[in-house]
C-alpha cells in the first residue's frame, strides 16, 4: 500500500514538470517578447531613463537575454525556491501578490462543487440504475443530457438575466456591494453564502450530468453479477444489499473518473467565473491573456494545471485505499 502510494506520488512529478513546460511555452508563445511591450508601455509614460534601468534589471532577473532553457530554469526555480512568479506587466506588481486570493476562491469553489456533484450524482445514479427504464430514470437521463448540452456560460447568462429581469437582483460576484470591501463579519459570510450557490450549481450541473451517467452505467454493470444474486440468496435486505455490494464496487471506477472530472470542473469554473465576474482565476486569466500579461497568465495556468494533477493523484490514492484489488496488487 505504502509502496503504491510512493510510486504513484513519484509518477506525478514528471507530469508536474510537463505542466510547467506547457505553461512556460504558453508564456513564450505571443509574438514579440514581454520586455518590448513593457518598454513601450514605460516609454508611453514618458520616463525612459528609469525604464532603461528597470529593463536591464528585469533582463538579468529573468535571464531574458539568455537561451530559452536558462530562462525556463530561472522562471521555475524562482517559483519553486522563492515563490516568485514574475512581474505582472499590467498591474505593476509581483504576480505572487495577485494570484493567491483568486486561486483560493477557485480552490474553494471547485472543491465544494465537486462535493456537491457527488452528493447529487451518487444517489441519483443509484436510483436510475436500480429503477432502469422507469419514468424517473428517463427524466434523470434527459436532464443529464440537457446538463451536458447547455454550456455553463449560457446557464449563467440566463440565470443572470432572469434574476436581473424578474427578481431585480444581481447574482453575479461573490459579495453584495456593501460587503465588497468590508471586513469579515457574520453578515459578510451570510452574504457570501447567498452568492456562492449560484456558481456552485451552474458549474456543478455540467459535472453532475456526466457523473450520473457514469454511476448509472457502472452500477448497471454490477447489479446482475453473481455476487449480488448470491448476497440476495443469503437473505440480505434489498436496499442494504444494493448499497453495500454493487454500489460499493461501482464506486471504484467512479472515484477514478471523478479525478478526471476535475479538469472539467475547472473549465466550467473558468467560464462561469468570467460571466458572473467572480474574484477567481477565470476573469483575471482572461484579462491577462487579452493584455498579453504573460507572467500572470502563465502563473494561473501552472497553478490550475498543478491543481488538477494533484486532484487526479488524490483520486488515485483514494481509489487504492477503497479497492483491495489495487491495494494488494
Amino acid at each position: 500500500m505504502l509502496q503504491y502510494f510512493i510510486r504513484r506520488i513519484l509518477l506525478a512529478i514528471p507530469t508536474l514538470f510537463a505542466i510547467s513546460l506547457v505553461s512556460f511555452v504558453l508564456i513564450q508563445l505571443p509574438p514579440g517578447d514581454f520586455l518590448t511591450s513593457y518598454a513601450a508601455l514605460l516609454a508611453q509614460q514618458g520616463d525612459s531613463t528609469i525604464a532603461g534601468q528597470q529593463l536591464v534589471a528585469l533582463q538579468n532577473a529573468y535571464g531574458l537575454n539568455q537561451p530559452v532553457y536558462v530562462q525556463y530554469w530561472k522562471w521555475i526555480s524562482n517559483i519553486l525556491l522563492h515563490g516568485d512568479f514574475g512581474q505582472s506587466l499590467e498591474w505593476h506588481l509581483p504576480v505572487s501578490t495577485l494570484i493567491w486570493n483568486s486561486m483560493g476562491v477557485t480552490l474553494a469553489l471547485t472543491v465544494s462543487t465537486l462535493l456537491f456533484t457527488w452528493l447529487l450524482a451518487i444517489p441519483i445514479g443509484v436510483f436510475s440504475a436500480t429503477h432502469q427504464y422507469s419514468p424517473m430514470d428517463y427524466v434523470f437521463t434527459f436532464l443529464g443530457f440537457i446538463g451536458l448540452a447547455i454550456p455553463g456560460f449560457m446557464i449563467a447568462l440566463v440565470l443572470l438575466w432572469v434574476s436581473f429581469r424578474y427578481l431585480g437582483m444581481d447574482v453575479g460576484g461573490l459579495f453584495s456591494r456593501q460587503y465588497q470591501n468590508a471586513p469579515w463579519s457574520v453578515g459578510k459570510v451570510i452574504d457570501l453564502l447567498k452568492h456562492f450557490w449560484v456558481p456552485l450549481v451552474i458549474i456543478g450541473l455540467e459535472g453532475t450530468a456526466g457523473l450520473i451517467r457514469t454511476m448509472r452505467a457502472n452500477l448497471l454493470d454490477e447489479l446482475h453479477k453473481p455476487y449480488v444474486i448470491f448476497a440476495r440468496a443469503r437473505g440480505l435486505d434489498e436496499r442494504k444489499l444494493t448499497w453495500e455490494y454493487p454500489v460499493r464496487v461501482a464506486l471504484n471506477p467512479f472515484v477514478s473518473s471523478a479525478g478526471f472530472s476535475l479538469p472539467g470542473l475547472i473549465n466550467g469554473a473558468t467560464i462561469v467565473g468570467i460571466v458572473l465576474s467572480l474574484p477567481m482565476h477565470g476573469p483575471m486569466l482572461l484579462r491577462a491573456l487579452l493584455s498579453q500579461d504573460m507572467y500572470l497568465a502563465g502563473a494561473f495556468i501552472l497553478l490550475i494545471g498543478a491543481l488538477t494533477v494533484i486532484g487526479v493523484l488524490i483520486s488515485d490514492l483514494v481509489l487504492a485505499w477503497l479497492d483491495p484489488r489495487i491495494r494488494y496488487a
Binding site: 505542466i19 504558453l26 446482475h224 495556468i301
Partner: protein
C-alpha cells in the same frame, strides 16, 4: 462414469445457454431486442432466417432504428447541416447589413390575418412603428396592424455570392417585390439593426463546420496514434498512453484560451478559423485515441483475428478486412460524441473574445453580444444563438448515444 461426465460437459457447454442469455437480458429489463431478432414484429421463424443472413450493418441499422430519439436527432442534424450548406439562400437578408432605424427589434410574429383582419393562407408580418417613451427616452417598436406584408418564397433580396462562387439574390423567404426594405426580423435584430435570423443561419456554417473539421483532424491523429499504441504495444504504447494521460489531466479551457490568445492578431479570419480548429483538435484527439487503442487491444485477442492470422492473412488485410468493420462503428459513435464538445469549445472561446472575432459570424461570436446583462435583459432574443447551440449539441449527444448502442449489434 467420471470420464463420461467431463466429456459430456464439454459437449454441453458448446451448445451453451441460448435461452439463458435471453432470460438474462430480460432480467436486465433491456427493452432492446435480443440482437438475434429483428425489431419488426414478424413470425419468429421468418424473422429468424432473416436475421441470420443479415449483415452487421443491417443489424446495426435495426438496432439504431429502435432508438427513436437518435433517429429524430439524426434528422435534426441533417437539417442543420443542410442549412449550413445553403446559408446564402436560406438567410432572408445579408447578415452584415445594418439598419439605423431598426435596432434591437424584438422578433416579429407571423400572422395569417392581413391588415383588414381577413384570413390569408399566405402568412405575413405587420409593420413596426417607432415610439419613444417620453420619460425614459427609450425607443420601442409597436406593431402596426394597419400595414401587413405577405411573405413570399424565393424572392429577390440582398445580393450574395453563393459559396463565394456564384452571384445570386434569391432568398428562401422574404417580403420580396417592392417591400424588400420593409422590416423583416423574424428573430429580432441586434444593436446595429442586423437580422438575427440571418446571422444565426450564417453562424451555423462556421460553428458546425469547425466541429466537423476539427474532429476530422482529431480522428486522423487519434487513429494513427491510438492504432500504433494498441496494435504494437510496448514502448510506443507506454509513451503514447502517458502523453494521453497528461493531456487529459489538463484543464482544456484555460489552455485553449492561452493558445487562442497567442494567435497573431494580424491573422486573416480564415487563418484564425483554421488556427482555432487545429487548437481544438490538438487536445481533442486523446479521447478517440483511447477508444481506438481499447478496441485494438480487445480485438487483437479475438478468435477471428487469430484465425485470420493462422490462415496467413497479411497484417494489412487483418486490419482492414477483419478488424476495421468491427471497430469502425465504435469510432463513428465516439466521433459523433466528440463533435458537440468542439462546438461548445468554439462557442465558449468566441464568447470570451478569444476565438473567432467579428466580422466573422459564429454562434459564439453572436453570443458575445449577449455578454452585457443589461442588454440581455432588454433584448433576450440575443440569446437565441445559444438555443441553436443547445439543440445541435443535444442532437449530437442523442445521435452518438444511439450509434454507440447500435455499434455492437452482437452484444447483449
Amino acid at each position: 462414469m467420471r470420464q463420461d461426465a467431463s466429456s459430456v460437459r464439454q459437449d454441453a457447454t458448446s451448445v451453451r445457454d441460448n435461452m439463458d442469455s435471453i432470460v438474462e437480458e430480460g432480467a436486465r429489463g433491456q427493452g432492446a431486442l435480443d440482437p438475434q431478432e429483428p425489431p419488426v414484429a414478424e413470425t419468429p421463424a421468418a424473422a429468424k432466417t432473416k436475421v441470420s443472413v443479415a449483415s452487421q450493418w443491417q443489424l446495426m441499422r435495426w438496432r439504431f432504428g429502435k432508438h427513436k430519439l437518435a433517429v429524430v436527432s439524426l434528422w435534426v442534424i441533417v437539417f442543420f447541416y443542410l442549412v449550413a450548406l445553403f446559408v446564402e439562400v436560406i438567410a432572408p437578408a445579408d447578415p452584415n447589413k445594418t439598419n439605423e432605424d431598426y435596432k434591437y427589434v424584438s422578433p416579429m410574429p407571423i400572422s395569417f390575418f392581413d391588415q383588414n383582419g381577413h384570413f390569408s393562407l399566405r402568412p405575413g408580418v405587420y409593420a413596426l412603428t417607432l415610439k419613444r417613451n417620453p420619460e425614459t427616452l427609450r425607443v420601442s417598436y409597436v406593431v402596426d396592424k394597419s400595414q401587413w406584408t405577405p411573405i413570399h418564397f424565393f424572392v429577390r433580396g440582398d445580393t450574395y455570392k453563393f459559396w463565394n462562387l456564384w452571384k445570386g439574390d434569391r432568398h428562401l423567404i422574404g417580403l420580396g417585390g417592392k417591400s424588400t426594405d420593409a422590416p423583416f426580423y423574424l428573430l429580432g435584430s441586434d444593436r446595429l439593426g442586423r437580422d438575427m435570423l440571418s446571422r444565426i443561419v450564417y453562424g451555423a456554417r462556421i460553428s458546425l463546420s469547425i466541429g466537423l473539421i476539427s474532429v476530422f483532424l482529431s480522428v486522423i491523429l487519434g487513429i494513427a496514434l491510438g492504432g500504433v499504441s494498441g496494435y504494437y504495444g510496448g514502448m510506443a504504447d507506454t509513451a503514447i498512453q502517458r502523453t494521453i494521460e497528461f493531456i487529459r489531466s489538463l484543464p482544456t479551457i484555460p489552455i485553449w484560451m492561452a493558445l487562442a490568445a497567442a494567435l497573431p492578431p494580424g491573422w486573416s479570419p480564415l487563418k484564425v478559423y483554421f488556427g482555432i480548429t487545429v487548437i481544438l483538435s490538438l487536445i481533442g484527439w486523446t479521447g478517440l485515441a483511447r477508444v481506438v487503442r481499447g478496441r485494438f487491444l480487445a480485438m487483437r485477442e479475438e478468435d477471428f483475428v487469430m484465425a485470420a492470422r493462422f490462415c496467413g492473412a497479411s497484417e494489412a488485410r487483418i486490419i482492414f478486412r477483419h478488424m476495421a468493420p468491427s471497430f469502425l462503428s465504435h469510432i463513428i459513435a465516439s466521433l459523433t460524441l466528440a463533435i458537440p464538445g468542439v462546438i461548445l469549445a468554439e462557442t465558449s472561446l468566441s464568447f470570451l473574445g478569444l476565438g473567432l472575432r467579428p466580422p466573422e459570424i459564429s454562434w459564439g461570436v453572436l453570443l458575445q453580444e449577449a455578454q452585457n446583462i443589461q442588454t440581455v435583459a432588454l433584448s433576450p432574443w440575443l440569446l437565441l444563438p445559444g438555443v441553436a447551440v443547445i439543440i445541435v449539441v443535444l442532437a449530437f449527444n442523442f445521435l452518438g448515444d444511439g450509434l454507440r448502442d447500435a455499434a455492437d449489434p452482437y452484444s447483449r
